[in-house]
C-alpha cells in the first residue's frame, strides 16, 4: 500500500496497463513529453517511448477517430480529452461510431479495447468551459460504458478494469479531487467491477446516491443529518452505464427514500433516469418522492459557482424535506 492522490493512482494504473501490453497506447493533447496538463501521463513517454505515448494535434474529433481506428485494428488505445468540456467536437465519433461499431458490423469489428479518459466537474472556479459534467449525454447512448471514480483507490481499480473491458469505456475523472483526494492504494495490480454500485455506508432512513466528486457532498450532508438522528445509506453509483439498478432498488426497499445528487444541471441529467426507474421498481416502498439535488439549469457560472452547485447544505435540506414528507 502507498499513499497516492487521485492523479498518481491514475498514472499508476496507466503504467501497469502499458507495461503489460505492448499494444496499449496513451495519447491526447499535451499527453506526451509534458505528461498532460494535469500530469496524469507523466513519465509514460519516457518509459514507453514516443510511439506509444504522444501528443496529438489539437483536434478532439481526430483523437477519437484515430482511437476508434486503433481499437478496431486490435491496439488498446487510451485517449485523453483534456477537459470533458471539450469532448463535444468528438461527440459524433463517440456516439455514432464508438458506440455503434460492434452492433452495426454484426460483431465483425469492434472498438471494445478503447478507453477514453477525461477530467470533468466543477467547484474549481473554472466557469462555463472547465466545469461541465457531461455524463448524461453519453448515458443515453447504448454501446458505451460510463465510469466515474470517487477516490484514488477506486480510480486505479476502475481504470484498470475499464482498460481491460472489452467494450468502449468513458472514464470521467473528478478533477477537483486530482490532488485533493489522497488515500491508500495498493501498488499491485487490482480491478474493481464495472457496472456495480457500492454501498459505502449502511443506513436506514434514506438512501443517498451520487458518483465522483459529488460523493463528498452527500457524505458531508449525511454527517449533518446524522446529528439530527437521520441515518443515511450512502451509495456510490460508480458506473453510469450500464448502471446497477439492483443495488439501488434494494437499498430503497430498505430505507423507503432516495435522494440523488449530481453536478450536472437537473433537467435531463442522469438522476432523472434513476428516479424514473426506481419509482417503477420500488413504487410501493417509497415513503416520499425521490429527491434530486443537482446543478441549476444554467451554464456553469464562475462567480455564482456556489449558488449553482448542489452543495452539502442543499442536500442536507433535501434530506430533511424527504424524511419529514
Amino acid at each position: 500500500m502507498a499513499q497516492m492522490n487521485l492523479l498518481q493512482a491514475i498514472n499508476n494504473a496507466l503504467d501497469i496497463a502499458m507495461a503489460e501490453d505492448d499494444s496499449t497506447l496513451c495519447f491526447g493533447e499535451d499527453v506526451g513529453h509534458f505528461g498532460g496538463v494535469f500530469r496524469a501521463t507523466s513519465g509514460l513517454q519516457e518509459k514507453y517511448g514516443k510511439a506509444r505515448c504522444f501528443n496529438t494535434p489539437l483536434v478532439e474529433q481526430g483523437i477519437m477517430g484515430f482511437a476508434n481506428g486503433l481499437a478496431a485494428q486490435g491496439s488498446r488505445p487510451i485517449a485523453e480529452i483534456q477537459f470533458a468540456d471539450y469532448i463535444f467536437p468528438a461527440f459524433d465519433q463517440i456516439v455514432n461510431e464508438t458506440a455503434k461499431f460492434r452492433y452495426r458490423s454484426g460483431n465483425q469489428f469492434d472498438v471494445g479495447r478503447l478507453t477514453i479518459r477525461t477530467p470533468y466537474g466543477g467547484g474549481i472556479a473554472g466557469g462555463l468551459y472547465h466545469s461541465q459534467s457531461p455524463e448524461a449525454y453519453f448515458a443515453h447512448t447504448p454501446g458505451l460504458k460510463v465510469v466515474v471514480p470517487r477516490n484514488p483507490y477506486q480510480a486505479k481499480g476502475l481504470l484498470l478494469a475499464s482498460i481491460r473491458d472489452d467494450n468502449p469505456v468513458i472514464f470521467f475523472e473528478p478533477k477537483r479531487l486530482y490532488r485533493a483526494s489522497i488515500g491508500e492504494v495498493p501498488e499491485d495490480d487490482y480491478q474493481l467491477p464495472i457496472g456495480k454500485a457500492e454501498v459505502v455506508t449502511q443506513g436506514n432512513d434514506i438512501s443517498l446516491l451520487a458518483w465522483g466528486a459529488q460523493m463528498e457532498m452527500i457524505e458531508k450532508a449525511a454527517e449533518m443529518a446524522a446529528a439530527d438522528g437521520i441515518s443515511c445509506e450512502i451509495i456510490d453509483l460508480r458506473s453510469i452505464l450500464p448502471w446497477d439498478v439492483e443495488t439501488i432498488a434494494n437499498s430503497v426497499m430498505k430505507t423507503g427514500r432516495l435522494l440523488i445528487s449530481h453536478e450536472a444541471p437537473l433537467t435531463s441529467g442522469f438522476a432523472g433516469e434513476i428516479a424514473a426507474t426506481i419509482q417503477n421498481e420500488c413504487f410501493l416502498h417509497l415513503e416520499s418522492p425521490i429527491a434530486r439535488v443537482c446543478g441549476a439549469d444554467t451554464p456553469y457560472p464562475l462567480s455564482l459557482e456556489r449558488e449553482h452547485m448542489a452543495d452539502h447544505l442543499k442536500i442536507y435540506e433535501a434530506i430533511k424535506r424527504s424524511v419529514n414528507y
Partner: protein, 393 residues
C-alpha cells in the same frame, strides 16, 4: 520553433498573395478512350490473368448494379446505390493493393469487395438483411463489411472513417504488419471536419494510409463547385505536407499505377499519401434520388464518352487478352447468377429476435436481457404483428 523565419526562405516587402493557382497539379493518365496507351506512359504491374480478373470484376459490378436497381424498383429491396462510371476507382484500387491491406470505404465501393471475392450470396444477404447477413440485418442495403476480406463495415455518417483509417494504419505500423490502410471517400465528405482531422493526424503521426478521394463531381445534388472553390481535393495535400497524386479516375491503369506507387511509398516511408481520382457519378446518388432535378442529360452524355469499362476492355482487346464472345458469355453468366441469388436470398428468414440485443456490448447486460425477455413475452401475445420473429424462440 519558427526561429527559421529569421534565417532563410523567400522574403517580400510588400504583400504578395499566394492562392489556389500557386500550385500546379498534374493529372496522371495512362489509357486513352480507344484503348491505346499514351506515349511513354508507365503501365502498372499487371499480368494477363490478373488483368482478366480485373475485367471480370468490372462486368460483375455492372451486372450487379443493373440488377439491383431493377430489384429495388420491383420493391424487393428498399434501397440501392450504383457506382456507374466510377468502377475503375474501386476495382483498380483493390487490384493494386495487397489482400491484407485494410479497406475503409464510404459506401460506393462495392468494386473493392467484388475484386476481393465477396460472394454473391454475401452481397444478397446484406441487401435482403436476412439472417445470413454478416451484419445481422441491422443496416440498410449496401452497408457491407467483411472481416475476412479486410473490408471495414460501412457506416453512413460521412467522413468518420478518415481519422479512423489514420489510427488503423498507425496500429498496423506499430505492430510491424506488412499492410497499409486504404481509405475511400467522396469529394463531398472531404468537407467534413473529420477529413481535416484525419489527414493531419496521419501526416503528423506518419501513418501508412492511402487517402483515396473519389471526386465524382457531386454530393447528392450539390455540384463540386458549390462544395469547394480551391483546386480540387489534391491541392489540400500540400497543406498537410502529404505526398499527393491526381489521376484520371476513369482510367483503371492510372488508378492501379497510382495506388501501387502510393502503397509502396506509404509502406516503405511509413507516410500517408493522398490520391484524387477525377470521375463522374453517372447514375443517381441512390435509388431515392432523381438527378434530373439538378443536372442535364447533356452533361451526363459527355461523361458517358469516358466510360472506364469500355476503355479498359478496348485495351484488353488490343492485348489479345479478351474477345467479344467471352464478353457476351460473361455478362449472361453473371446476369443469371445474380437473378438466381436474389431469389434465394429473399426467401431466407430475417435475423432472430435475440439479435436485437446482441453486440450492443460484448455480452448482453442485465437490462437488455430484461428488455429481450419482455419483448419475447409480448411477441407471443401478438405474433401477427411481428411476423419475422414470432414463433421462432
Amino acid at each position: 520553433m519558427n526561429t527559421d523565419i529569421y534565417k532563410e526562405g523567400q522574403v517580400v516587402h510588400s504583400p504578395t498573395f499566394i492562392d489556389g493557382h500557386s500550385v500546379d497539379i498534374p493529372i496522371l493518365k495512362v489509357l486513352k478512350q480507344d484503348g491505346s496507351v499514351y506515349e511513354g506512359a508507365q503501365l502498372p504491374e499487371l499480368e494477363k490473368e490478373h488483368a482478366q480478373k480485373v475485367y471480370r470484376s468490372f462486368v460483375f459490378h455492372r451486372v450487379l448494379d443493373e440488377r439491383m436497381i431493377a430489384a429495388q424498383r420491383q420493391g424487393r429491396i428498399s434501397f440501392y446505390m450504383t457506382a456507374l462510371g466510377e468502377e475503375a476507382t474501386t476495382v483498380g484500387g483493390a487490384a493494386a493493393l495487397a489482400d491484407q491491406d485494410m479497406i475503409m470505404a464510404q459506401y460506393r465501393e462495392q468494386g473493392c469487395l467484388i475484386y476481393r471475392g465477396f460472394s454473391l450470396e454475401d452481397f444478397m444477404n446484406q441487401m435482403f438483411s436476412n439472417e445470413k447477413d454478416l451484419g445481422k440485418g441491422r443496416q440498410m442495403p449496401i452497408h457491407y463489411g467483411s472481416n475476412e476480406l479486410n473490408y471495414m463495415t460501412i457506416s453512413s455518417p460521412l467522413g468518420t472513417q478518415i481519422p479512423q483509417a489514420a489510427g488503423y494504419a498507425y496500429g498496423q505500423k506499430l505492430q510491424g504488419k506488412d499492410a497499409i490502410t486504404m481509405c475511400y471517400f467522396g469529394e463531398g465528405a472531404a468537407s467534413e471536419g473529420d477529413f481535416h482531422a484525419g489527414l493531419n493526424m496521419a501526416a503528423v503521426h506518419k501513418a501508412p494510409v492511402i487517402f483515396f478521394c473519389r471526386n465524382n463531381g457531386y454530393a447528392i445534388s450539390t455540384p463540386s463547385d458549390e462544395q469547394y472553390v480551391g483546386n480540387g481535393i489534391a491541392s489540400r495535400g500540400v497543406g498537410y505536407g502529404i505526398k499527393t497524386l491526381r489521376i484520371d479516375g476513369n482510367d483503371i491503369l492510372a488508378v492501379m499505377n497510382a495506388v501501387q506507387t502510393a502503397r509502396k511509398y506509404a509502406l516503405e516511408q511509413s507516410e500517408p499519401v493522398i490520391i484524387e481520382a477525377m470521375s463522374y457519378r453517372l447514375g443517381a446518388h441512390s435509388t431515392s434520388d432523381d438527378p434530373s432535378g439538378y443536372r442535364t442529360k447533356e452533361e451526363e452524355a459527355k461523361w458517358e464518352e469516358h466510360d472506364p469499362v469500355s476503355r479498359y476492355k478496348a485495351w484488353l482487346l488490343t492485348q489479345n487478352w479478351w474477345d467479344e464472345e467471352q464478353d457476351k458469355a460473361l455478362y449472361e453468366q453473371y446476369r443469371e447468377q445474380v437473378l438466381a441469388a436474389v431469389k434465394v436470398a429473399e426467401k431466407i428468414a430475417k435475423p432472430p429476435v435475440e439479435d436485437l440485443v446482441t453486440d450492443v456490448y460484448d455480452e448482453v447486460p442485465t437490462h437488455l436481457q430484461k428488455q429481450l425477455d419482455e419483448l419475447k413475452e409480448h411477441i407471443n401475445k401478438y405474433p401477427d404483428a411481428y411476423p419475422f420473429t414470432a414463433g421462432r424462440f
